[in-house]
């Protein structure tokens, strides 16, 4: 029986290269946008367009989402299923945390911004953990 190698195949290396090529500019744009926005003082009560400026970092986020979508489309069928399952798990965890946060707010426990951040972070972490478990099998 030929030896089973753990090295990446040419197909996997191509996927990695393309995912990196798509995602890297979006990540750099996201970091730059956040750095710039955090340095300026915005007050939408005085100038309505400050709210628009505050939303600028969502553009590279959308770009990052597009890169992820392309990566899922290029993956082989099992990888694609694993990635979509991981996304579904991340989404479910986010929804559960958001619901729990909303219920706790009714009881005056914690603050809205705290639960917003918690929802985002737990969703991303659950997605990443599920992806790691599924793709390392």
């Amino acid at each position: 029986m030929p030896a089973t190698t753990t090295q990446k195949t040419a197909f996997e290396r191509k996927l990695d290269r393309e995912a990196f090529r798509d995602a890297l500019p979006a990540v750099v744009a996201l970091i730059v946008a956040h750095a710039v926005i955090s340095q300026v003082t915005l007050d939408a009560d005085k100038h309505w367009w400050h709210g628009t400026i505050a939303l600028i970092p969502t553009l590279p986020l959308i770009w990052l989402g597009w890169a992820q979508w392309r990566s899922i489309q290029r993956a082989d069928e099992l990888q694609r299923m694993s990635q979509l399952q991981a996304l579904a798990i991340g989404f479910a965890v986010s929804m559960i945390v958001a619901s729990a946060g909303g219920l706790l707010l009714v009881a005056s426990v914690g603050t809205g911004p705290m639960y917003l951040q918690l929802t985002f972070v737990t969703g991303i972490l659950a997605w990443a953990a599920a992806l790691f478990v599924k793709l390392s099998r």
Partner: protein, 84 residues
């Protein structure tokens, strides 16, 4: 579903990575296919069959029934009689 992928790969003296590259799938997917943890889609099954120049049913076959019916229904009378 069971398959002969490991056996066919050994005949060709290919590694899992070699076969994965020929099928445009990852090595993890190749491993999952070989160990029966994942059943391929029809397009991938056809691709595999073409690569080995075999029919799909010569590579993939269903698991044996784990609990065959001990008391099967009798065939209807005359149902399987040869027509003379």
């Amino acid at each position: 579903m069971r398959n002969r992928l490991r056996e066919l790969r050994a005949i060709e003296r290919w590694s899992q990575a070699d076969l994965a590259d020929r099928l445009d799938v990852s090595r993890q997917t190749m491993n999952a296919l070989e160990t029966g943890r994942y059943d391929p889609s029809l397009p991938l099954a056809f691709k595999i069959a073409r690569l080995f120049q075999l029919g799909i049913d010569e590579i993939f076959f269903p698991d044996p029934d784990p609990d065959p019916d001990p008391d099967p229904e009798p065939e209807p009378v005359g149902g399987s009689e040869p027509v003379s």
